[in-house]
Amino acid sequence: MAPPLLQVKDLRVRFVTEDGTVRAVDGVSFDLRQGEVLAIVGESGCGKSVTAQTLLGLTRSPNARIEGSVRYADRELITASDEELRAIRGEEMAMVFQDPMTSLNPVYKVGDQITEQILAHSNVSEHVALEEAVRLLRAVGIPDAERRAGDYPHEYSGGMRQRAMIAMALSLEPKILIADEPSTALDVTIQAQILRLLELLNRDRGLAMIMITHDLGVVAEVADRVLVMYAGRIVESGTLDEVFYDPQHPYTWGLLGSLTRIDQPHAEALAQISGQPPSMLALPEGCHFQPRCPHRFERCMEVPALIERDREGSGHSDRCWLDPDRKRELRQMGDRIGLEVPAA
């Protein structure tokens, strides 16, 4: 098997603020292989966006403390200089953000924003760069691309803007595309278009992707492997089937159980997760999830290590002290997986 494209080991990101230190990312490790789509799923504040942005060095700031290792093609990115990072951004790894309206500069034409990136990395003429930009816009499905390149972002619809952002990200043919909630701000039918585009890119160009999302439906649609994050830590990591059909962490059960699905009729009550996500300034001791977990016991006050508990060598790891057989019992609520049904 080819070596992984990207290797992240024990990534930690802390932000020093007036109210205290926020441990946004607390020991995240994962590999990304060629052509693979890795989904990082979690709710707001879990650290998934910070993780993604740190890969490109976008979180570097005076009040950020970044530790750990991000290795790309034998280069260590955490300690890389600004120069080195700039060479990686766009050329090797590119990023697409959540809200295409605010992520594009409103005063420059869309075509110009794409050529800006091309010109910053290569010596081609402006004319050639613009031709390339038009070709890219066409490739992502924007009709009348040549005319559209001369339009401003506000003249595009939401879906088209996101396509333009994807075109821009692809302009230097990166090996990895990081998509941070790429379809969240879009209408459902437009979301389907964007996801299909991303799937096509992955399939036809072998483009590896990291997909950040809170939507398990999107994960089910596009991902090969899944990382579930909670309060700065990975709580479960495995293939798509493993995480959906054999989840090992109570938080994952809770997420799966609380979902509504269009192919299932009305259930009496949704299996909810009680309480709320912790404040990042006052994280619980031990397992961050234990205050909300109905299955917690004494050992949970000790931070569970992220290891393969169920089957050695499977790559399916989790952060929960419970015995895997016990887990299979506990998570079954009738024919569904869930955490706990509220008492009537």
Binding site: D187, G217, A220, L240, L259, D263, Q264, H266, Q272
Partner: protein
């Protein structure tokens, strides 16, 4: 339809129309050919009306006591405007809204005041819909005060009681909104809506802005409260999964019109309108195997703007089953039995029997044609 004119006066859709599951025959809410247009003004010194945003373009529906009607659609479909117009927060351009038989449109503020008690709203953004300068007790208590429903001595007790019913603590009475999380703020909004013991609550995307793990809590809470307080809900959401779970009936809107309405299970399992089909197909199922087994139906193009809607059937520009008639004649809203209605010249998932037995519904828009779909209309080809 020429630009700039409102539709003609319409007969009110009466109680003999489609009822909800409670079936006691008297709808709680009857909306009849409701229209809301927003003028688009332009000009240097003097504003002229150069066009209209047809946010709600002839919508009729009824709501029975105790049921939950789900309202789904994408941006520009008019669902939020419809809610606000029903509540008379926006003045209707034309059409009628009757609550418990009493006409709401055209009433003065003073006349509406007592009726407002019966209909309340929960908003989408828990951060923007609470006044950050007021304490929680004030926010929830103000409606009671304004309507004179509680003396000042009782007020505090009532508010604290409400706070506990929605899962907060009575200690939260003196706190400010910024001290709460999104889910908790939404509970405050719910308590406020409940304060006046309304009969109907319109919830406009009540969980869209919340984290996934909190959504289930709020959805469950709303269901409990519905039982406890005998509430009738209109639940607006772009998330079909949530709507299927909460609603008894679902109405699908597209660019100002209702394209399909019917029992939730029927609409989700046997959708008639191609847009509903596309919408359902576009929602990913959080189950990899089920998801992969589905036939994808991905629409091309963008959602049209309500300021310049396509003529006749609004959906024909993106519809895989569209033919010439779709751009010429607006399809009538046809009743296919069991309370399932759809407005389409090429309805899907129907056998010849059902098509033959179909009748044009009284809720059909005034400008729609009366061409009924024929048996053997186009089937959608899957891609």
């Amino acid at each position: 339809m020429s630009a700039g004119t409102a539709p003609p006066e319409a007969p009110v859709v009466g109680p003999e129309t489609i009822e909800g599951p409670s079936g006691d025959g008297v709808p709680l809410l009857e909306v009849s050919h409701l229209v809301k247009y927003f003028p688009i003004k332009s000009g240097l010194l003097i504003d002229r009306e150069v066009g209209q945003v047809r946010a709600v373009d002839d919508v009729s529906l009824t709501l029975s006591a105790g049921e939950t009607l789900g309202l789904v659609g994408e941006s520009g479909c008019g669902k939020s405007t419809l809610c606000r117009t029903i509540l008379q927060l926006l003045e209707p351009t034309s059409g009628s809204v009757r609550f418990e038989g009493r006409e709401l449109s055209g009433r003065s503020r003073k006349e509406l005041q007592p009726l407002r008690r019966e209909m309340q709203m929960i908003f989408q953004d828990p951060f923007a819909s609470l006044n950050p300068r007021k304490r929680v007790g004030q926010i929830v208590g103000d409606p009671l005060r304004l309507h004179g429903m509680a003396s000042s001595s009782e007020l505090r007790a009532q508010v604290q009681d409400l706070l506990e019913r929605v899962g907060l603590s009575s200690e939260h009475y003196n706190r400010f909104p910024h001290e709460f999380s999104g889910g908790q703020r939404q509970r405050i909004g719910i308590a406020r809506a409940l304060a006046l013991r309304p009969r109907m609550i319109i919830a406009d995307e009540p969980v869209s802005a919340l984290d996934v793990s909190i959504r289930a809590q709020i959805i469950n809470l709303l269901a409990e409260l519905q039982q406890e307080f005998s509430l009738t809900y209109v639940f607006v959401s772009h998330d079909l999964g949530v709507v299927r779970h909460v609603a008894d009936r679902i109405a699908v809107m597209y660019v100002g019109k209702i394209v399909e309405i019917g029992p939730a299970d029927a609409v989700c399992e046997n959708p008639i309108h191609p847009y509903t089909l596309a919408l359902l197909s576009a929602v990913p199922i959080p189950d990899p195997k089920e998801n992969a087994a589905r036939e994808p139906l991905v629409l091309e193009g963008d959602v049209p703007s309500p300021s310049d809607p396509p003529p006749a059937c609004r959906f024909h520009t993106r519809c895989p089953a569209a033919t010439e008639v779709c751009s010429e004649i607006e399809p009538p809203l046809v009743d296919y039995g069991d309370g399932h209605l759809a407005a389409c010249h090429h309805p899907q998932n129907l056998d010849r029997q059902r098509i033959a037995a179909a009748r044009i519904a009284p809720e059909t828009p005034l400008e729609a044609g009366d061409a009924m779909p024929q048996p053997g209309s186009h089937r959608l080809t899957s891609e």
